[in-house]
Symmetry: C2
Subunit: 151 residues, 2 copies
DNA sequence: ATATTTTAAGTGTATATGCTCATATTATGA
DNA sequence: TCATAATATGAGCATATACACTTAAAATAT
């Protein structure tokens, strides 16, 4: 009986189908596209999302926003830092003094408004290149994934 | 004629459909699931991917691997650091002395082998919870996305 | 054969992500 | 009311990501 060689090789082929790896790969690709498109605005795609979220919620606490964005609270806190440093947002204690509430500054609002066309352009380009059907399918799959695997 | 109020509110609703944001959100969710499942192995999902890739390619240069993984070269360099520190991989100059080639150490091979069942379990859980059909659709969409938007 | 160009890689800087632990404040229960 | 539990946050630590710039080595062109 010949000893079976380590089947490491065969196993690792499966790894090309790793859900995590493929998601991260696609995220790298798309984030680079968006960051590149947003470059003239001075803010990144991630930062744009935060400004837009704060704009649409109005005043909101950190924990609250982290739940809306399905983002770790401490990650959000860190991500807010560069926005606060550049005075795009204001962070002040809430009525419940455990909380800190977020609001856009005038500068933040202006930055968001100026950035919107660039975001829209990037988004439109992605939809066009993927085709609307594929894009809708992608978003649908991503949404299912978060809903089903979240928590 | 009534003046239209700032349509910032309406605009930002679209942002919930931001391709970049939704990808990042799903990636956060899935990465947390994988990292959690891999926790007993002492390596993270991202690191597992690197070990598996090096194992399947055999000796490989950094640039080469970065292209295989569709990953920025400098990102790969940084990601290799903790693996090298823990002596899971060896980085040595290649024949072309501009290059540095990567190989698994014995410890790296052992770590990869021990990690495989945990990765498989996480992957199986994801496929089961999403259902195989949805999972295949997701992977297909991610692959299209990278192929179409890459470069 | 040497000057020029191309290619591979490392480093500085900045952001993004999330776990663990510590602290402050509010809510609750005896 | 006062001790305890629950909640909101920040900070330390480690990794992940990528642009711009620099350096070294190989390829090429004259």
């Amino acid at each position: 009986m010949t000893s079976t060689p380590s089947n490491l090789q065969n196993e690792t082929l499966d790894v090309e189908e790793c859900t995590c790896f493929n998601l991260r790969k696609a995220t790298r690709t798309v984030t680079q596209l968006f960051d590149d498109a947003m470059q003239p605005t001075g803010i990144r795609a991630t930062q744009f999302t935060l400004l837009a979220a704060i704009s649409s919620t109005g005043t909101v606490a950190i924990r609250q926003l982290s739940q809306i964005l399905v983002m770790d609270r401490t990650t959000l806190t860190r991500n807010l830092k560069p926005l606060e440093t550049r005075r795009l947002i204001k962070i002040v204690p809430g009525e419940d003094r455990r909380t800190r509430t977020l609001t856009l500054t005038d500068k933040g609002r202006k930055t968001l408004e100026k950035s919107l066309p660039f975001w829209r352009k990037a988004q439109a380009e992605v939809i066009e290149r993927l085709t609307p059907k594929r894009w809708r399918d992608l978003l649908k799959q991503l949404d299912s994934t978060v809903k089903i695997l979240g928590d």
